[in-house]
């Protein structure tokens, strides 16, 4: 080891326990002197730092701050949990209310369909058939058009359904007459079953409203509402003459019978 190497290693760590360094230090007087001076500086430096002591209350203050922080955090967690519970309850209540209202609305629609059939039961006895031009005229009142043949139609008229007008058709079925309502603006969101002592059927949602199909018990109505909906070209709700927004019925509001 030469002097340069020794001093480089010494300045990297003055207290290094390296036999090669110790050997050189014993053999070289200048390096020995240099090492002693360097270790004296080093001790002075360490003493300088060791003499610095923190304020006696620092550790206690830190422990206190940690405890306080822990308490604040746990309190915050309690608050978060409480707030989350309240939000959950409020959310569940709102959802439940909305669903209840929605269900009530659906039931009311189904009931109004049945009421309408009962009120106008005489139309069920219509022997028909009505002309194609009459059917087209009724649909045309709403800007709609029958684009496919849906078979014999015994009755066709524009009727008031709840808050707005729609198309009321009666078709012959196997077990008796089948009533079909085209109800613009009535958007139930899902298929609603319709049932009474005499009748059964369903209300199927469409892009512009819904189609109700109701017949005698035992009548096969499977897919009929969808077939009827596809057979009619109906403009979007806002463009429809008879299908304005809820509460603001557009077009004729008096039954044209």
């Amino acid at each position: 080891m030469n002097c340069l190497e020794f001093r480089r290693l010494l300045l990297q760590d003055p207290f290094a326990n390296d036999p090669a360094m110790q050997k050189h230090e014993q053999e070289c007087r200048q390096c020995n002197q240099y090492a002693q001076e360097q270790r004296a500086h080093e001790r002075q430096l360490r003493d300088m730092f060791n003499e610095i002591t923190p304020p006696p209350e620092l550790a206690e203050n830190i422990q206190l701050a940690v405890r306080l922080d822990r308490r604040v955090q746990s309190r915050r967690q309690v608050w978060f949990a409480a707030a989350a519970s309240v939000l959950l309850i409020v959310g569940a209540t709102i959802t439940s209310l909305v669903n209840e209202r929605w269900e009530r609305g659906n039931m009311a629609l189904a009931q109004s369909v049945l009421n309408h059939i009962d009120d106008e039961a005489h139309h069920l006895r219509e022997a028909g058939p009505v002309s194609r031009s009459r059917v087209n005229f009724v649909f045309a009142r709403f800007g709609a058009a029958l684009t496919e043949d849906i078979g014999q139609i015994n009755f066709a008229a524009e009727c008031l359904m709840r808050k707005r007008n729609g198309v009321h058709l009666v078709l012959p079925g196997k077990n008796g007459p089948i009533t079909a309502f085209f109800m613009p603006g009535e958007t139930p969101g899902k298929v609603i079953p319709v049932k009474s002592e005499r009748f059964q059927g369903r209300i199927a949602p469409t892009a512009w409203g819904s189609v109700a199909v109701v017949g005698e018990h035992g009548e096969n109505l499977e897919g009929m509402a969808e077939r009827l909906a596809n057979a009619v070209h109906w403009p979007q709700a806002e463009q429809s003459v008879g299908g304005g927004k809820l509460g603001a019925p557009a077009g004729p509001t008096v039954a044209q019978k």
Partner: protein, 169 residues
């Protein structure tokens, strides 16, 4: 949780003095050093989940303190006073002798990149490898910086002594 809290309390008691010294070596201000140590332990407490091994807690705390100091410095450059002057508030054990003053001045004049590894070795007793991990440097770079730090410190002290002798003669 209680056991963890007790362990943390022990850690605070055991490591506060050396962390305070390291903080003083970095910022030269007792008030700031006080804040730095306190903030270091609070941060450590809040992110204790990231600490996998208690044995590495010491190096981890030093690293947090170093980062805190860097953050503080970036934010407000806290100490605009003469770093060589005595602290406004008396610090217990703060050596007021001329030699200590000269040494402090020399140490403070060292660039941070040289002062940091020197403080970590002198106060913390960390190995070159540990210092390298804490500072994100290779061991060889740490050795070079330690060499240069002591060389500059020694030169500054010798120059100071020569000036003193010149004044006397």
């Amino acid at each position: 949780m209680g056991q963890l809290h007790d362990q943390f309390d022990s850690l605070v008691k055991a490591l506060t003095p050396e962390l305070y010294r390291y903080a003083m070596g970095l910022c030269h201000n007792p008030d700031t050093a006080d804040d730095l140590v306190q903030e270091t332990f609070l941060r450590a407490w809040r992110s204790q989940n990231t600490l996998r091994d208690v044995k590495t807690a010491r190096a981890w705390l030093y690293t947090i303190l170093r980062n805190e100091n860097a953050r503080l410095y970036e934010r407000q450059r806290p100490d605009v006073r003469d770093p060589h002057a005595l602290p406004a508030v008396a610090v217990h054990g703060y050596d007021t002798s001329t030699e200590a003053f000269t040494l402090r001045r020399a140490l403070n004049d060292l660039d941070l990149q040289y002062r940091e590894p020197l403080l970590l070795q002198t106060i913390g007793g960390f190995s070159c490898q540990e210092i390298g991990q804490m500072l994100g440097l290779k061991s060889n770079t740490v050795l070079t910086r330690l060499f240069r730090a002591r060389k500059m410190l020694r030169d500054m002290l010798e120059n100071a002594q020569s000036s003193e002798l010149e004044k006397l003669s």
